[in-house]
């Protein structure tokens, strides 16, 4: 029985749209409002007793004590769960700072608003019946982006009703808190060669642009050694043993570098070198590892052995792959599609000579997979240029293949994307003679062409529609005949091509850059991780600044290293030596200290 005590006018006038939405919600028959022993209303939902059946007001005071324990005046109290609002009333009455109330269930909000006078919470920010992301945005506004001010209070009966919602919200808040300080130290480990090598480099640049301290172990320098091993012996076993030794060298370098630079995270992409021993050693030293598996899980099955060794595992496919990972107990995994790097993949002003060299009506940049070989053999009557390596040089392919099938450098690919009227983006397959009807992941070229402002026709992929709006931002084909029709149509309509390409470019720059992906990856990682490992290091810049706050000259000197993570005496000495002018007293002390450090190294004391 609902006892209408108030219609809460303040709510209707402050949140008219939300009021109507809540009002139109169907009431939940499981919500049972009854008088408590003491007389105030109490609420029970199914088996969950939301408030005390004896004295909800007294209980609310106790909950408010808990919520306000250690709260500072500038704290933002985020209350997870509304119930009938007793605890929130108590918190709002006793706390002068900001309060955010979160309740995802519109039926509970409706019931609370119609059952009790909630005027006491009229000054609070309300995140009612919103997605987790929208709720996080409200919290961010409430704390002005200073997530360290957030103090989370969980109304446990409410959490029981929507555990997944609150778990996700908690993870987002944790991630923001953990990332809301100075930069992380990230070690990016690249593969020796292959398609994921540039991806690793784009990730490193993205981390840097996000303001993190990035160390890159670029293993391309070992490519010559890898090729040399292939020529050393005809014995396959010997070759594989030598390759294992090379892998061990590269992997052990990860630990050495990670420890030397006190990094917070080791980030690897597909084919980056690693050994189980190094992965375990990093875990033992509490340095989290993240691996971006930018491969097709059904073609490359090494993930089965390797995914459990990493702390975080990102994939470009989801659904069945995520389920398969869960089966081998890989839980901290999420879908992370590929992206473009706008510093590399961008619109260019090409010279007339470049337009002649790289331009054509139709083009494709990529390697000669089976399905492409078939499809492109049927396009040779067009002004078609085929760029890339590993093509079977049949008579028809030879007619369109550029540079005799040499691999194209990234900057040249960008010129082709810019200069072509239509870029054909056919995802590779060795199993099909045309479009792979079951193709799911979206390749990097999709984003790269889009970021360049190039127009593309791409084969349909099941994961494409959530990245680009088909028909509006991107045009897709499902078979060769359709491709041919679309080529004819869009060659004849340059304005439409440009309009679609521009929409795709905008979408890419706002949603599909490596910066955005890496920010998502870090949010995911730091929703699980506690504060980054280096933050606990006494020589982390935050700790140094805090320790030096009463010594202005020293503080100013150290302030030069904000966002540098763990600072070493070598960093400081280098900085001082690069400056002109008289040495300040703290600078001269650091230089003397640096000499001591070098001396200690000479004597093997370090």
């Amino acid at each position: 029985m609902v006892n209408h005590q108030s219609d809460n006018h303040w709510f209707r006038s402050a949140y008219p749209e939300l009021y109507h939405r809540i009002n139109s919600t169907t009431s939940n028959p499981d919500l049972a409002v009854t008088p408590s022993k003491q007389g105030d209303l109490t609420l029970r939902i199914g088996n969950v007793q939301m408030h005390s059946a004896y004295n909800p007001v007294e209980e609310a005071e106790r909950l408010a004590d808990e919520a306000l324990k250690n709260a500072a005046s500038n704290s933002v109290i985020v209350v997870c769960g509304l119930g009938l609002g007793y605890h929130i009333e108590s918190i709002c009455r006793r706390f002068q700072g900001k309060v955010v109330v979160v309740e995802p269930d519109p039926a509970i909000v409706k019931l609370a608003l119609t059952s009790r006078d909630l005027t006491a919470m009229s000054e609070a920010a309300l995140a009612f019946a919103l997605s987790v992301t929208d709720t996080a945005a409200i919290i961010e506004r409430a704390c002005n982006g200073d997530w360290k001010r957030i103090k989370l209070f969980k109304h446990h009966p409410s959490i029981k009703l929507h555990p997944e919602y609150y778990e996700e919200l908690t993870r987002i808040i944790n991630a923001r808190c953990n990332l809301d300080a100075s930069a992380l130290g990230i070690l990016v480990v690249t593969p020796i060669y292959g398609g994921s090598l540039p991806v690793a480099r784009y990730c490193a640049s993205a981390f840097e642009r996000l303001g993190h301290r990035v160390e890159t172990l670029d293993n391309q320098i070992y490519d010559a050694a890898r090729r040399q091993i292939d020529t050393i012996s005809s014995n396959r076993l010997h070759r594989s043993q030598l390759t294992a030794l090379l892998t061990t060298l590269m992997a052990e370098s990860i630990t050495a570098r990670a420890l030397d630079r006190a990094v917070d995270l080791v980030f690897l992409t597909a084919q980056s070198p690693m050994t189980p021993e190094v992965a375990q050693e990093l875990r033992r030293r509490r340095i989290p590892t993240a691996f971006w598996f930018v491969e097709d899980w059904q073609l490359f099955t090494y993930w089965q052995q390797w995914a459990p060794l990493y702390d975080y595992f990102f994939t470009i496919q989801k659904g069945a792959f995520q389920a398969a990972l869960e089966r081998i107990d890989v839980r901290r995994t999420t879908y992370l599609p590929l992206a473009a790097d706008p510093k590399v993949h961008r619109k260019l002003e090409l010279t007339p000579e470049e337009l002649v060299e790289f331009g054509s009506d139709v083009s494709h940049v990529g390697a000669g997979y089976l399905n492409r070989q078939y499809v492109f053999s049927g396009l040779i009557d067009l002004d078609f240029k085929l760029w890339g390596n590993d093509w079977e040089k049949t008579a028809s392919i030879r007619q369109v293949l550029q540079r005799d099938g040499a691999r194209l450098a990234t900057e040249e690919s960008v010129k082709v994307f810019n200069a072509s009227k239509i870029n054909i983006n056919l995802h590779s397959s060795q199993m099909h003679e045309g479009v792979n009807p079951d193709g799911d992941y979206v390749n990097p070229r999709t984003f790269e062409i889009a970021a360049c402002g190039g127009f593309q026709l791409t084969d349909h992929r099941s994961l494409l529609p959530e990245l680009f709006e088909e028909g509006k931002e991107i045009i897709t084909f499902r078979h060769e005949r359709e491709l041919r029709t679309l080529i004819d149509r869009y060659l004849a309509d340059p304005d439409e091509r440009n309009r679609i390409a521009e929409l795709a470019r905008r979408r890419t720059l706002t949603e599909h850059t490596y910066e955005i992906r890496m920010a998502e990856a870090l949010n995911f990682i730091y929703s699980y991780e506690s504060a980054p490992a280096s933050r606990q290091h006494p020589d982390h810049i935050d700790n140094l600044l805090s320790e030096a706050k009463d010594e202005p000259e020293l503080y100013n000197l150290l302030s030069r290293f904000k966002d540098r993570g763990v600072v070493t005496i070598d960093d400081i000495a280098l900085d001082i030596q690069q400056r002109d002018g008289e040495l300040s007293d703290p600078e001269s002390i650091f230089l003397l200290m640096h000499e001591f450090r070098n001396w200690a190294k000479e004597k093997d004391l370090v």
Binding site: I569, F590, M593, L605, V606
Partner: protein
């Protein structure tokens, strides 16, 4: 950890090891004579505090825990070390002098020396060392002498003396006179170790600092066996060399009344100086105790083979003798000696050392025959400094059967 006042005319920074410190005695002695007994201070490694106090006076030593600072750079937090170094700098800054002489060609020590306010800084400057372009030609020589090249012809003490009185030796060098209680403590240690004879013993300096410089146990045991039949022998070294000394004694089969090991019992450098001052002769390779013995006026027989160049670092003073291989390739580079130490430490036969030691004990002229592959030099001081005289070996030495 401060110097007592700002009264100093000169502060000498010597943060190297015992041998280098002992070799600066000439410089210290001249400065004390010229400016007065309390006008010179020494900045040294804390482990050498006791002997330094004997050299310049108790209150004129700034002993720095250098190894502590160095270790802390590896183990302590950045700001903790910074504060330690800031304190050190403050101490140095409060220790003003007219002249600061830095005797180490090392950037850290130069930076530290330059933190002491002075109107004149002599020796290696921090900037010079960083650019490896010493503006001071003396320091260039000093650097060459200590860089392992071992081709110098000038003694370190002469270079340092330049700073004291422009290279002119007005007075002969007097050994450091130890207080009677220090000498007595040395005597006590020797007696308590079991030496019954009242004869002053020979000190055999068993250690070497660098393993490559060590004389083989067989050589040292032969020396011990032969010499202990005439005079008591004490084996001197660090705690780490105690086992080596035991091996030498065991192999020598000498009586425990004639040979004792003091290894590990003379870690206090003043006590070590007291012990050495009670000896008639100190025998050993180029080590700290050898230079300490020379500083306190005990005759030294230096065994200089391989990279040990007596012209640069031979025992300083009058009446010392060094024995070297008769080899045109002597002295070699330090690295060569590290690679093949035995080649060099075997180059001088124990018989030659025994013969010269006996001559020195008896006050005889050196009676070694030529053709045994060694050369012998004896030291004297002229007004120009240290002179090494090539001792001409006799074809038919009297009563010697080598």
């Amino acid at each position: 950890m401060t110097l007592v006042s700002n009264r100093y005319t000169t502060i000498v920074v010597q943060l190297a090891r015992l041998g280098d410190l002992a070799q600066t005695w000439l410089l210290i002695d001249r400065l004390k004579k010229r400016n007065g007994p309390n006008a010179t201070a020494l900045v040294v490694d804390r482990r050498l505090r006791e002997i330094t106090e004997l050299m310049v006076g108790k209150n004129n030593v700034l002993p720095l825990p250098i190894n502590g600072y160095l270790r802390h750079t590896a183990t302590e937090t950045l700001l903790k070390v910074w504060r330690e170094v800031a304190d050190l700098k403050q101490i140095l800054a409060s220790s003003a002098a007219r002249t600061v002489i830095n005797l180490n060609y090392h950037p850290a020590i130069a930076a530290l020396a330059e933190a002491i306010p002075a109107s004149c800084h002599l020796g290696a400057r921090w900037k010079d060392i960083k650019t490896d372009q010493p503006s001071d030609h003396q320091i260039r020589e000093l650097f060459n002498a200590t860089s392992g090249l071992r081709r110098g012809t000038k003694h370190l003490s002469d270079i340092w003396a330049e700073y004291a009185e422009n290279g002119v030796y007005a007075d002969p060098l007097q050994p450091l006179k130890l207080p009677e209680e220090v000498v007595e403590s040395g005597r006590r240690i020797i007696r308590s170790a079991g030496i019954k004879s009242r004869d002053a013993p020979i000190a055999l300096l068993v250690g070497s600092g660098l393993i490559a410089r060590s004389l083989p146990v067989s050589h040292q045991s032969l020396l011990t066996a032969e010499l202990s039949s005439e005079v008591p022998v004490i084996l001197v070294g660090s705690r780490q060399e105690a086992q080596l000394a035991e091996d030498i004694i065991r192999a020598s089969s000498a009586s425990s009344e004639c040979v004792v090991s003091l290894c590990g019992r003379t870690n206090d450098t003043a006590v070590l100086a007291g012990v050495l001052s009670c000896c008639r002769l100190a025998i050993g390779v180029d080590t700290g105790p050898l230079h300490l013995a020379a500083m306190v006026g005990t005759d030294c027989l230096g065994i200089y083979c391989g990279s040990m160049n007596y012209r640069e670092t031979g025992p300083y003073g009058s009446g010392h003798v060094v024995i070297t291989p008769d080899d045109p390739d002597y002295p070699c580079h330090e690295r060569e000696m590290e690679i093949n130490p035995q080649k060099y430490t075997d180059a001088i036969s124990p018989d030659s050392i025994i013969r010269i030691a006996r001559d020195m004990l008896h006050g005889d002229s050196i009676s070694l025959a030529p053709g045994v592959g060694v050369r012998v030099f004896s030291s004297s001081l002229s007004f120009k400094g240290l002179v090494w005289e090539d001792v001409r070996l006799l074809r038919k030495p009297k009563g010697v059967n080598l």
